[in-house]
């Protein structure tokens, strides 16, 4: 089994910009021999109905991701910094446009 799997094309993650003015959004993955083929496959697979105006492909093994196990340690520091939010500051109702 592992012998065969070595011949598998690498995995690519696909990001599509749905229309001008929007960010590229992750839509899924696919297998391709190289970046050029990945782009063509992404076009055929993820934009058959005008779902996009631009595509990025990235090799899946090049993606570095935060670990769900460290979610607390990684994201909780922002939890106690309420002063980063505009609602933290009380301003009298009589002051306009703020």
């Amino acid at each position: 089994m592992s012998e065969d799997i070595k011949h598998e094309w690498p995995l690519f993650e696909v990001f599509v910009r749905a229309k001008r003015g929007l960010n590229h959004v992750h839509v899924g993955s696919l297998r391709a021999a190289d970046h050029e083929m990945a782009l063509h496959h992404a076009r055929d697979l993820y934009t058959r109905r005008n779902e996009g105006v631009s595509i990025w492909v990235v090799r899946s093994d090049d993606v570095a991701a935060s670990s769900p196990d460290e979610k607390e340690a990684f994201f909780s520091p922002s939890g106690d910094k309420v002063y980063r939010h505009p609602t933290y500051y009380s301003i009298p109702d009589s002051v306009p446009h703020i």
């Binding site: 065969d4 094309w9 190289d34």
Partner: protein
């Protein structure tokens, strides 16, 4: 695994939030999810064959283009699903081998032959209609990548069902021979379509766990009833008869009653003795073998290109 992992998994499910690829999950959940997604992917890939056989024989350029687009969608659906399965640590090539070697199953509906062009229409109307009934609730499946793939798939299935129904309406406006073809196709596909929802609830051993994990949202019988209720008025509008003498409206239940399903037939077809099981797998195996040199050549080209660039 720690108690904390399990607690976080259970709470995520309880809050109706999604489980995402790198989250901790019980082994049983991962196994069930891989099996379900792989079977679903295999069904889409094998599902290209019954209709694909009619592409060269479609009666007009318009029907040919529609059918091509539909079969291409089925390929796409299979690939969205293999992509979701890979987020769980499954390997696409390995899943294909499991299919070819008969170690993983696909929907038994695709083991029936397509005898006339009316079958293309009936597959769109009934088979894709049943698939939509099954799949719409799966958009809220607890596993994120599966739910997202299902949303994409459901959007496209709607085209499949409508093209099928429109095809049948066109044939029903044609000659008596064409109307007979439609009725014949309905007679052959109706009961297998009802079987697509799986065994009855009291004989579906894995359902309770799948419901608890929110992989599944409705029971097999519930979805089957929904499909019958939707299909009866559609059959009437089309002018065909559904091949069930016991089909009648039940005022008390507010649903259509229907006759007993021959579960021994489903068992027989699932276990490999359907009309087309062998040919479907043989075709898939041949496609895999015939494509091997292309995959190897592309990989060699990519390697050489990379070396030259480095």
């Amino acid at each position: 695994m720690t108690d904390l992992d399990e607690k976080s998994f259970t709470e995520t499910i309880a809050k109706d939030q999604r489980i995402e690829p790198r989250d901790w999950m019980p082994d049983g959940y991962r196994r069930t999810m891989i099996r379900q997604i792989a079977q679903h992917a295999h069904s889409e890939i094998i599902g290209m064959q019954p209709e694909g056989e009619w592409i060269t024989r479609a009666p007009s350029l318009r029907r040919k283009a529609i059918l091509l687009a539909k079969v291409q969608d089925e390929a796409g659906h299979g690939l969205y699903l293999y992509s979701a399965a890979e987020t769980l640590g499954a390997d696409r090539g390995d899943l294909t081998r499991r299919l070819i070697e008969g170690r993983q199953k696909y929907s038994s509906i695709f083991n029936y032959p397509t005898l006339s062009f009316a079958d293309v229409g009936v597959i769109g109307w009934l088979v894709d209609g049943a698939a939509i009934c099954n799949q719409v609730p799966l958009c809220r499946s607890s596993y994120g990548p599966y739910g997202r793939a299902m949303i994409r798939i459901c959007k496209e299935e709607s085209f499949h069902q409508r093209q099928g129904y429109e095809l049948l309406m066109t044939m029903m406006r044609g000659t008596p021979a064409q109307r007979d073809m439609v009725q014949d196709a309905v007679n052959r596909w109706w009961w297998p379509s009802l079987m697509m929802f799986g065994p009855p609830d009291d004989r579906s051993p894995n359902s309770a766990q799948s419901m608890a994990w929110k992989i599944k949202r409705h029971s097999n019988d519930e979805l089957r009833q929904r499909f019958v209720d939707m299909s009866v008025p559609q059959a009437e509008a089309l002018g065909v008869t559904l091949p069930d003498p016991e089909l009648r409206w039940n005022d008390e239940r507010g649903h259509w009653d229907f006759g007993p399903i021959d579960w021994s037939e489903l068992q027989r077809v699932i276990s490999g003795d359907g009309p087309c099981n062998a040919v479907r797998i043989a075709n898939r195996r041949r496609a895999d073998e015939d494509g091997a040199w292309v995959r190897e050549a592309a990989a060699a080209h990519a390697r050489r290109h990379q070396e030259a660039g480095a």
